[in-house]
Symmetry: C2
Subunit: 364 residues, 2 copies
């Protein structure tokens, strides 16, 4: 996403509608924008694409649903930021694929400042919470905005420590989904002094499936992720893994082997995370930090024809398997230009006959 002219209001609403369409996840959303340039043109082309891909019974969300989402946002004073808006945070746009949109409450400009995530166990020790609070305060005073997930324990302590200097809470449900109830006061303070962010529609209650997407945004907004206390199988370790995949620095606060909540950070240290006892460790790492991975500049659809032959679509479909396969491998197998195969795969995915994955991979 390089900076372009401001999007029209119609295009912004079309992006919201495209993002809310069944079977259109962030990968397909990105590819439709790449192929058609705008969401308005993509929406126009969609029924035909779906039919050609062999799908049926697949429809766009009714305009009323989209209007209702916009009105719900307006009612609570939330702001919609779509991919392509100037306010869309650059580090998040560099994620592959970027979330199509964000709803925000509060000061969205915080996301334009250097952000760092502090995450960890819900059932945290008193010491762990003290570390999270103190670290976030130090980070805030040094100019970092602290991002976390408004969960109990470490997340709440991290937000609390950074409240005076700037903190961003990313939710799994809508921006108005105050959860857990213990954090209602904290939620209110962040809405007033910080920023609440979510990819979900206003009014949506958080479900388990929302948290991986939420975690991707936490790490995607941030230059680095600090894990304070976490068990081995935990959302915090998933956030750390996503951060690594996104080319962000992973930090871990070490802990005693006697506490099971140290297992997560200690395992991250084994895997090469930066040991973090305080601000100094963060600054040292950033001073020698590799640059963020640049978003892929090449658009595979650059030389795609407007219309893809139906026989070719079926040939591509026949090559797919449940194992993710690189798009360019399919192109070589068929002796076809990558743009043609990418366009065929896009139509198959909209028809529910293929799943587009990050990094140009595709599976059945």
């Amino acid at each position: 996403m390089t900076a372009g002219p401001p999007l029209s209001q119609a295009e912004r609403i079309a992006r919201l509608r495209l993002a809310r369409t069944d079977r259109i996840g962030p990968v397909t959303f990105q590819q439709l924008l790449d192929r058609f340039g705008t969401a308005l043109r993509a929406l126009d082309a969609l029924p035909d694409l779906i039919r050609k891909g062999g799908g049926h019974g697949h429809t766009l969300p009714p305009e009323g649903q989209i209007e209702a989402e916009l009105e719900a946002g307006e009612r609570i004073g939330a702001r919609l930021i779509v991919l392509g808006d100037a306010a869309y945070p650059a580090p998040l746009a560099a994620v592959d694929p970027p979330p199509p949109l964000l709803w925000t409450i509060g000061d969205a400009d915080l996301m334009a400042r250097p952000c760092i995530a502090v995450v960890g166990a819900r059932i945290a020790s008193a010491g762990g919470q003290r570390i999270a609070r103190g670290l976030s305060q130090q980070l805030g005073e040094a100019g970092h905005v602290v991002v976390s997930g408004l969960a109990r324990g470490i997340d709440a302590a991290a937000h609390a420590g950074a409240l005076p200097t700037g903190t961003v809470a990313v939710l799994g449900g809508g921006v108005d989904d105050v959860y857990p109830p213990d954090n209602a006061d904290l939620y209110r303070q962040i809405a007033e002094q910080g920023c609440i962010v979510s990819e979900s529609p206003v009014g949506a209650r958080a479900q388990a499936k929302d948290f991986p997407r939420r975690n991707r945004i936490i790490s995607g907004l941030s230059r680095g992720v600090i894990v304070v206390e976490a068990e081995l199988r935990s959302g915090s370790l998933i956030t750390a893994r996503l951060a690594g995949e996104q080319g962000r620095e992973v930090f871990a606060v070490p802990g005693s082997p006697l506490d099971p909540r140290s297992k997560g950070p200690n395992e991250l240290l084994r895997q090469g995370a930066v040991l973090c006892e305080g601000l100094e460790d963060v600054e040292r790492a950033f001073n020698t930090l590799r640059t963020l991975r640049e978003p892929a500049a090449d658009n595979p659809f650059n030389h795609a024809p407007d219309d893809i032959d139906q026989a070719l679509i079926d040939q591509v479909a026949a090559l797919l398997s449940p194992t993710p396969t690189p798009r360019d491998e399919l192109a070589r197998a068929l002796g076809q230009p990558i743009g043609v195969v990418a366009a065929a795969l896009l139509e198959l995915s909209l028809a529910g006959r293929a799943t587009l994955l990050p990094g140009g991979l595709v599976s059945l």
Copy 2:
């Protein structure tokens, strides 16, 4: 030290006497053996060497002193092992320079088994002591002999955990110097079931200057050193540094940044120590371990003449400064063979006009 024929009793006593001579530390001891082949011949040559180096007032320890040391050892049932004895532990012989001798009480064969050191803070937390004890028990059951320093806290807990499977306590004072008094019971148990080791004469009380030498033996006997709790400036971190220099693996048990006793191990982790939460971490590291550094095979004195010119000795002395200088740099500066310069330096060191350092370095 490659295995040779057993040393005669006279030679073994000569090695003890040589080691107890003023100005003869481990480096000089090793070089005298290299130059003269035996301690008996080195003792014969010594008065002449000292005189030629420009020293005076320097004498061998009286034979009565050496006899008294041997008798004191015999009285308490201690055993003398000199460098070159079959019982001298191979990993310690690979240290540059190796300690010339060890006094032992108990089962000296333990040192021939794979050893690992567990060391840490004297004023240790209850948790730290529990970790040290549990880890040592695990290590012992897996076949490792646990080496430590019989200090309060972590050392004592490590010995206690490995008492049933085999533990070696290395002391700063003589092998009969029971210190601290709290550990008198533990000392007795180790003397009966394990092994007590020291480089110091029987009867000697530990002094501050003895501990760096003691720490060198702890790491030198071991394939690796595990640091459990330690402040930043502590003997345990010195032992870890020595272990690194000796090519041994350094392990650190992580701890919370809230406890100052975690600073030491956490700093070691930053510097690349292997994170250790239990036996598995140790075994994994040893399975991929670099081999121990081999002792240098070349004897610089191989082609040295029997007699070094007095003028040359003074030329070498003139080149020395307080900054450690490689021996071969001096040889190049003088256009002399390395063996000639090494021999001149040996004489200067015996005369107190040069200090021989490990790694072929020398200073004023």
